[in-house]
Amino acid sequence: MKQLLYFIVITAMGMSKSVRQALVQTYFISLMLIPTFGLAQFSGPSDSDTSDREAGASLVWLGTPSNASESVSNIRVGDTIVLGIKISSYNASKTSIDYAHIDVQIDKRLYTYQNETFNSEVSNNSQFVGPNAKMQWSNNHDHYDIWDQWQNGTYVTDSNYEIHHYQTSDTSVDGNEVETLDWYVKFQLKVNAFDEDYDYTDGVVITMGRTSVVQSGAEVLLDPLYAYPNQDFSNEPVQAAPTFANTVANDGQNAVKYKSFKINDYASNGGNSEYGDHPSNSAGFDAMFDYGNKKTTTWTHQGRDTATKAFTWPWSNILPRHANTNFGWIIEGYFVPPTSGTYKFQLTSDDRSDFWFDANDNGTITNTGMGMGNGSRDVDVTNLTAGVSYKFRVRYEQGAGGANLYLKWKSPEDVAAGADWAFNANSIYSIDADDVTVTMDYTINYNIDSDITATDFSVKTYYESGTNQFTANSGQSAVTLASNGSADISDQIDTDFSKVQHVVFDEPSSTELATTAAAAVTAADVYLAFQELTDKGINNNETGNKFTHGIQYVNADIDKDGDFDFDDTFVMLDWLNGGTEFSLTNLSSVMRLIETSAYNSVASTAIGNYTTTSKFPLGLTNGTTTYTKNITVSWLGDVNLSHSPTPTNNLSVTGMTINNAPSMSNKRMYMISGKEIEIYIENEIKDGKVHAKVRTINAGIPIGALQLKLIYDKEVLKYNQHTFDTGATDFNNVTENHISFGSLKTEDGAINNQSIYEFVFDTLKPIDSSLGLILFEVIEAVTTDNEQVNILIQ
């Protein structure tokens, strides 16, 4: 490639000026069209006065630090560009250049100098800077005759400029051939905002220079040394890009990107036009919006805004423009058809507009040819596939007078149904819908009882990957519930709305699960359930009820058959006795998640409507990014709602009277009466066994249910038997190191005023004492009116 470039340059020197200029022009065009063309000598000889040259120094365009092939036309204010200096020898007897210094003048208003880098193949480099200095040309010589300028020119002080002197003395590498390098030094400049009409390429100029070779042990100059053409690096002005306005914060649905132009600005061009007042064809639009080369066009706005604003009217809600006359827009977006087939598009405008569409979704956007307007035009775009993002572009110009712009369409179904033209913002995206990153704000407020430690739980998001199959969204992490039960899952959601997603509680350990269930389902729950049944509860459509909220019936349906009856109380008793009738396989077998609004109004007759589950559907909606979901957590078997929030609405049944139902709004289901009973505990070693006895002293308080816990040292003791004397239905659940025991009255009346619970343990090793081998814990006691009673161990 390098040889090709030299061939072009050298060959051009033998041509006429016009031919050379044409060649150079073609060369630059090829650079612009083939961005991967790579390193290139940006400037070439273009003046016949250089025909007697011996050497040349040129500025070389090296793109940007990250892309050496970046086109000059893509450079904007704030970008950093890279330029290099190339040395050429045109005298066959003066090759193997071993020395060069070239001075470059920088306009500091246009550029901020960053740094320089010498080519690794040259050595003995140096650079000094003449700050606040500007070239004072010697007008006895051409300005591009930089050797003679070096001899005759001077510097003058000017704070707007600085001079960089790049010097290399290549004495050892590659046989002293600086001229063989694509550049011997390169430097970076940051483009400043100054004046969009200013030719930025004039801001970097080669001013002075010298090159030499060693011949017969002496330095021989290459004279003259020219810089060309005109010592700058381009002929394209750089216009400051307007600030990108994010009226719509994020790329996505109902959004487009736009550029807004001031057009027909004749005053800026000496009263002369550069294109038609209104474009009559596509090329007319091209010229009108060629802000880089047209003085009568200024790029005034750019940004992201709603598709609604872009393609509906009136004046009060349209895209930004410098004024209400002589403005134009380029609006781009992606059309995502909801169904497949041929879509009819209608563009209506005053003044002109055209419509481009990438119907093949292959990156080539073409003019649909529907015409330029004014008025309404339509076009069929065939073979669109549902869900695919098709890029489109609308160009519009307004001169003066009436104005409007509408884009509407008909789906195949609309056409079949004879529907009218319509605009649907949800079908338009600012970028490919597949690339949309939706910033979701989704908070779930779990209304979780204060007796449940919310921070013990965490949730993740899953999507339905099949029937009753759920797969965790990729890249997510568990979100631990805050102490108030809230969980911000915004970052955990897959925004592919085709996936039905759920927020799912992480499964606790079996021990944690058992502990939660043991705390939630106690003798008081079972007793209340028995009372409800004994009183012929609501679900049997009779009076005399103890339940005051529908959720109690749901929670009391512990066998999950959609009915609350004695089968459930049997399972509850079995649970107290350590049986296995109460299914406790995982969290979803006992956790119940109900949207709070529904939870507060559960009907007693709707037991079967609320299943236990540890997951909840997210219910995402296209176009909605902010969600707040309130879910109440209750537990199967928690009949008295001691570990579940109390609904705000009391149970009401048409035509029925709920006896003795206090107002429970915002109160716990059980009430603390302030009453207190005592239990007397004592261990004793008798006949080589340890006897542990509990005696209740109820002091006349009618106790309906009592539950205690005995903890024993399993390293020393082994449970043998128990004897209870309570006058009630007793339960005794012996586990490896503790015993849950107690009584509840399943009939009328109360537990014996002085009830006895006695346990006998075998000893696993000889002992002389049992102090500390057995401890008792209080669980709960309730009166026959379901009032909670304090228990004092004596």
């Binding site: 004592e682 261990n683 040292d713 004492s769 102090l771 081998l773 401890l775």
Partner: protein, 112 residues
């Protein structure tokens, strides 16, 4: 030689001193206001007469944790204290009651 004899004599005296570590168990456990205990620790308590007594573990806030009833004999009685179940308790009172419900002794146990 005289010096050597004196040295050997002193060594003999030192070597014949009582082992004080062994003597600790002979001291009434309640003679101290507080004791450091570990699980399975054997203690000795001195009782005034043959009778039925109770040993209680009582929390710092006065809550009863455990009670054992036993028949004691006058003089030194060995008992074992188990504290492995007191997982979240650092200090607890050990109290001795007679059969009439009167507290005889009390010591603060610091659980090791």
């Amino acid at each position: 030689m005289k010096k050597i004899t004196t040295l050997l004599f002193l060594l003999l005296i030192v070597g014949c001193q009582k082992d004080y570590i062994n003597d600790i168990v002979d001291i009434n456990f309640f003679d101290q206001t507080e004791q450091v205990v570990y699980n399975n620790q054997s203690i000795e308590i001195i009782l005034p007469k043959d009778d039925t007594y109770s040993l209680l573990l009582v929390g710092i806030e006065g809550n009863l944790i455990a009670r054992e009833r036993f028949i004691g004999t006058k003089g030194t009685n060995k008992r074992t204290i188990y504290v492995s179940l007191l997982t979240d308790i650092e200090e607890v009172y050990l109290m001795l009651y007679n059969n009439n419900g009167n507290k005889l002794e009390e010591v603060l146990l610091k659980i090791n």
